[in-house]
Amino acid sequence: MVASGNLEVLLEPEFSAVSKVRVRTSVDGYREEWTAILRTFFERHDVAAAIEINDGGASPPIVLLRLEQALEESRK
């Protein structure tokens, strides 16, 4: 779990083989960008996770950074 004011990422282990992601965002019309961010993340990390993202308008690099941080934290 990481948060930075306008962005919250909740990451939990997923015990089926398929990751589940829910994105709620205040900014409409960026489906492709979200798909690209998530693809990058799952290409880097071979994990099955349940991820929830509550976005109040964060930029893509920040989203990716927070995902990395959430994964790191969940491994502690």
């Binding site: 779990m1 948060a3 004011g5 306008n6 919250e8 909740l10 939990e12 709620r24 509550n54 976005d55």
Partner: protein
């Protein structure tokens, strides 16, 4: 760059960094997913902690409770869920303190006040927070920290003023009304919200320190803030806090400051008024000493004997001659806030003898809001309102029956300071009765929605509606009273209302109710489900060993 900066941290990291290493334990953490159900229907993305971190941990050998608002989420605003998390945690700390288990609370206040999207639910939550802080202060010092970029405004500025000890830094600001709201309500001539120098000279914690409204100014570092907290806690453990914070009992000192303060020499504006004048008419009808209160007063205070009960009634009314122009139309300003505090403390002090029957305090409520003005902020209107809140709560805690009767408007900070701390709130069932937190124009500006959208919202979110039935549906009112004419009541209507007030006084004598008792009302059972659920879950996680 300051690597130890407190202001740069998130709410969670602030709480974690203050508590002793490895003692941080979050209650109702984000994975519990108690988020606001009110934001998604308004197309706002919620967060799983609803913008507050509730953490238990240690300061040395002492148990601590840190409540940390996240300024980055919705401006740190207080809605139903995060408000219930804060109030609920303070209520549990109070329960433990009464059982001899001291827990030292620290509030990290980075908040714009009531969350406008949840409006009256936030207002009720904040009244519960006020009540808990004052009750808890008798056992432990309640420490506030204002050290974030948002600052501390609105009802939470009143909460800050109620704290035993208030720590600020150069980043923090404290005031009742934010610059943009003052500009919206009173115009650029009153307050230019783009004038940064003016803002800091008026609201900055350095200024508040000079005014005696912040107790200590520290560097923006975790270590400095932690040291200040621990030092204060160690003093507080040895010294009992019996119901009094000097800041809110400095009535004579503050009254002198207000008298010495130069105010603009404006002509009386008798023509323009927001007020229905109901506050005065109901006061006169019920109290029958109108002659004492002809003109030139904005606060009516008087005693009357109703059967065996001695009543002290208080009403804030329009006064075209008031020195502070922004408080001429019935608003709650600095003079009114301190005046209410004086009137209540007089009753508390005069009745504080064994065997004496205590005055019943009756708040007649018709307040169109707090005064939005530069002079008010300079003097610290948040403190004036806190003094009134403090006095009402203390009266209740000292077994005075406290009953509020809403006859007209009951708005925001003015209602927090005059009405919301009553043991029971009665209201006239009338279209002229309005309860809300901010004018539609200001809501529109702050939430960046059109006036039409703001009006449409009230249809789907009853907490943002303004009518008395919507407020009653939240459990805010114990009885809705019929009057034949709310503006010009007949003698018979007045007698019926008097009888209702007396019955409420009798119920209060049998067992005074503090604001959280409203959660058990039949209306609240259906409408404040999250407020109740948050408390229930908080209690289940509260006592696990550290």
């Amino acid at each position: 760059m300051n690597i130890d900066s407190f202001a740069e941290k998130t709410a969670r990291d602030r709480a974690r960094s203050l508590l002793d290493a490895d003692t941080f334990r979050e209650l109702l953490d984000p994975f519990v997913r108690l988020e606001s159900p009110h934001l998604p229907v308004q197309e706002i993305v919620p967060q799983s902690d609803d913008g507050v971190v509730i953490a238990r941990g240690k300061f040395g050998d002492k148990n601590a409770l840190v409540l940390s608002l996240e300024g980055g989420f919705q401006g740190g605003s207080v809605g139903e869920v995060n408000g219930a998390k804060i109030a609920g945690a303070l209520e549990l700390a109070l329960r433990d303190a009464r059982a001899g288990k001291l827990i030292f609370p620290v509030l990290i206040l980075d908040t714009g006040g009531i969350r406008l999207q949840e409006a009256n639910l936030g207002l009720l939550a904040i009244s519960e927070i006020h009540s808990a802080i004052v009750a808890l202060r008798e056992f432990v010092p309640v420490i506030g920290v204002i050290a974030g970029r948002v600052g501390c405004f609105g009802g939470m500025a009143i909460a800050a003023a109620l704290c035993t000890f208030l720590i600020g830094n150069e980043v923090g600001r404290l005031g009742l009304n934010g610059p943009e709201v003052i500009e919206q309500e009173a115009g650029t001539d009153e307050f230019d919200a783009h004038d940064r120098v003016l803002i800091w000279e008026t609201l900055g914690c350095r200024r508040r320190l000079a005014m005696g409204q912040v107790d200590l100014l520290v560097d923006d570092s975790v270590q400095a803030i932690k040291e200040a907290i621990v030092t204060r806690i160690n003093i507080g453990a040895a010294e009992k806090q019996r119901g009094i914070v000097l800041r809110t009992r400095e009535i004579a000192v503050q009254t002198q400051k207000i008298q010495d303060h130069a105010t603009p020499d404006l002509e009386p504006d008798a023509e323009k008024t927001f007020s229905s004048g109901r506050g005065r008419r109901w006061y006169n009808a019920l109290m029958e000493n109108a002659a004492e209160h002809a003109e030139g007063k904005s606060l009516l205070v008087g005693d009357a004997q109703w059967g065996t009960e001695t009543i002290r009634a208080i009403s804030v009314v329009p006064n075209p001659l008031a020195r502070f122009p922004r408080a001429r139309q019935g608003q709650m300003g600095v003079e009114e806030g301190w005046g209410i505090a004086r009137a209540i403390w007089e009753a508390i002090d005069s009745d504080n003898e064994p065997g004496k029957i205590k005055h019943a305090i009756v708040a007649i409520v018709d307040v169109p809001g707090q005064a939005f003005g530069l002079h008010e902020e300079q003097l610290g209107i948040h403190l004036a309102l806190a003094a009134a809140v403090d006095a009402y709560i203390t009266a209740r805690e000292f077994d005075h029956p406290v009953v509020a009767l809403i006859v007209g408007k009951a708005i925001s900070g003015a209602f927090l300071a005059h009405g919301l701390q009553a043991s029971e709130i009665l209201a006239l069932d009338d279209a002229g009765v309005e309860i809300h937190v901010m004018s539609e124009a200001s809501v529109s500006r702050v939430t960046r929605r059109s006036l039409r959208e703001v009006a449409a919202l009230a249809q789907i979110a009853p907490s943002t509606a303004r009518d008395v039935h919507s407020f009653a549906s939240l459990g805010g009112v114990s009885r809705l009273l019929k009057a034949d004419d709310a503006d010009e009541p007949s003698p018979q209507s007045v007698e019926e209302v008097r009888s209702e007030i007396l019955q409420a006084i009798r119920r209060a004598r049998a067992g005074a109710k503090s604001p959280p008792a409203r959660l058990d009302s039949p209306a609240a059972l259906a409408s404040r489900t999250m407020s109740r659920e948050v408390r229930r879950m908080l209690e289940s996680q509260w006592s696990m060993e550290l």
